[in-house]
Symmetry: none
DNA sequence: GCCTAACCGAGACGGTACGTCCGGTCTTTTT
DNA sequence: AAAAAGACCGGACGTACCGTCTCGGTTAGGC
């Protein structure tokens, strides 16, 4: 978390009066290296998993020295935590929610090929990262915020809109239901190792979400 | 999985004619060591996580030599998988399905106090198991069979009984729904790091499963 | 110094009653590795000098792991010290002194091609080793004992014999004179970087040693 | 050697017309830094040896930046060579040859008290210089010129004078003999690590040099 | 009862990654 | 333009762990 927070601090507090700190001397840290190293770490992480990933690999791919990495993060674990957390920042959190007028249309409109591929990659990164959750509990928080929360939030907003317009009952447990899809996706990718294709997502919507919200399933699943 | 299966083989097929195999000579393997080593592995796993766990730690705690461990399991990963599988066997999830006459009663009867008590320990161990998926994808199936499938199977059997007695509709997607609870539990334990307590499980039953199956929630579940 | 001394202890005190030490368990240390590693270290040292030498190079050449080296020597410096000290043991210290009847004949008989080449190699090793004399004073002692003392001792014995038979005066400073040749050789190899050939050694004998001992130079240096 | 020569050039040719060179712009190089850095280098060298010495240490002690050092010397090795050369220049070995009328008096007059006092310091420094010979053979000549040659030249001049006035024979090998003292000193300092005190130098003169030149020892040098 | 082979604890072994440190270069700000 | 400060790349150091192999000693069978 360290470097990212420092970066935030620097970009947010540029107007801090310079007489407070002792007027930093010497060459400035190249802030571009931060993101380049994080990107390289994510690539290696997705390819080899946490244990397979090597600091030298990351350094080589980012064309950086090991010291440059260890100057920013105190250990491999913290680098990975930050890399996962940085995934969250890359994407616009709720980038243009669909609005088709009814909940089923909205949920299905969320299924975009790009979204599927991207999700696949992220969950594979998560698989590699799970190796160290026992040692670094804050990693769990980062992974949740980066991978699961964006999807859950989108689901919750769609369902809240449906509730607002009276499409579903007011006493539905939206918070719990919005986590069903991400949880099932994680299980399918991590343990079943099956692809998260359109059919699977539709079966989730029509077999779990909509029934649980009291909306009857539409027609016997027409083809794409 | 290796040693456990060998152990099963040995105990089950003691009558195999000895002339088939090259007439095992020498001292017999001490079968007690298997369980002692697995227990030691579970302890260390829970305390340090997968990456923090060391074969030497396990050997020291079990007062065994490393060779004694590697004679039984080919790698650290397989040892851990087997340790988790053995844990599940101890507990016997689906050994006695409840039968209260209605689905909600059955599902709630499945919630046993000790599920909550040792939830924290299982969190560590499950995280450890999931850790190796990135390195050894073939172990994902084993982890799934050991951890998720027992609970999913129990759920499916209960729902099938409910369907048989007409309590729920015939076209319900039981296969998908039976995976909802385990998936949500895994997410809660691994990423949210919150305890899987009775309230959470009841909110799953009343907020997701029963509504999705067309059974109205019983009472408005008085909030805290 | 560590490993060599342990080795000496082991070979010398084999008859020590076994109940004194706690009866060493586990695999025995392979004593052959000691000498193989030291030999590899000497090779690398002669080729690249102290700073150029790498523990990985030594390990690779000795087909050993780094841990095997660090189990025996606590640091690169101590390994080099031991390697230099081990040179001394390799050669028979005073392997067959010549006896031609007069001192000049003895001294010249010591000049053998094999001896010259061997000396060249040793002084080159010494050059590589001088890099760390400031940090490890005991290295100086080892280098002196391994490289300079054997030659000085041979010289001193030849001169003592000459003194015993009355060839040279009784009050000659043999101890000092026996060090002249090694010192001049070291200077020639290390600083002048010129070869130590037969002519140079003869000029030392006839231009310094014999005159200082009161023996007149023979004829105007006949050819070889 | 580089910076010292530049410094000499600059101090000698201050009157060179400025239009000959490309009209040096900007701040002038602070020539005081040269000697301050060299002094700092000598201190660190004497304290830690060549390998122990760090450019950062030198920079910190001289309150200089690393770039300021590397602007003047191309490498750590050359800096050390120059530091030693500068030390020799400070002391001015052959600035005033003694002339007592006979060779023994001249040689003994060369023994100055401070040669003994700072012997220990020079030991460390010389060891440091010899250290780099293995890596940069071209520096051997420089080290030889800075350390050994001044003393050898002084010896040769004294002996030549003695030869000129008929004190010693005309066919003495002066070139070889003039190197005996420096070589023996180097051996005593570097390998024996004993102080180069007055007694040792007198034993060289009376036990080696004068006998080799055909001059009988004066008195039987009373033992300690 | 005794031989033989496989077992056992202990730990050395080869290999590989970690996190630190240094040499030599480059960049930023100040003088 | 040179100075101080310090970030940068590359690579060696010494440590720790994995999975294998070897040691002396123990425990079964089969003769």
């Amino acid at each position: 978390m360290a470097a990212a927070m420092i970066a935030q601090d620097l970009t947010q507090h540029t107007v801090v009066p310079s007489h407070e700190l002792p007027a930093k001397l010497g060459r400035k840290r190249d802030l571009n290296r931060d993101s380049e190293i994080l990107a390289a770490a994510l690539e290696v992480l997705a390819e080899t998993g946490y244990n397979g990933m090597t600091i030298d690999m990351v350094a080589a791919r980012a064309k950086a020295g090991k010291a440059t990495i260890y100057r920013r993060w105190p250990s491999k674990a913290e680098l990975v935590i930050d890399a996962v957390a940085c995934m969250k920042r890359q994407e616009g959190v709720a980038d243009s929610l669909p609005d088709t007028g009814n909940l089923r249309g909205d949920l299905i409109a969320m299924i975009k090929p790009h979204s599927i591929d991207d999700g696949q990659r992220k969950f594979q990164i998560m698989a590699g990262v799970l190796a160290m959750i026992g040692q670094a509990p804050e990693l769990a928080e980062a992974a949740n915020a980066a991978i699961v929360q964006p999807r859950a939030t989108a689901n919750r907003m769609l369902m809240q809109r449906a509730k607002d317009r009276g499409e579903i009952a007011a006493d539905c447990d939206i918070d719990t239901l919005s986590l069903v899809t991400p949880s099932m996706i994680a299980h399918r990718i991590l343990l079943l190792q099956k692809p998260v294709d359109r059919d699977f997502l539709i079966s989730l919507i029509d077999g779990v979400l909509l029934p649980a919200l009291g909306i009857p399933a539409p027609k016997p699943t027409p083809g794409p």
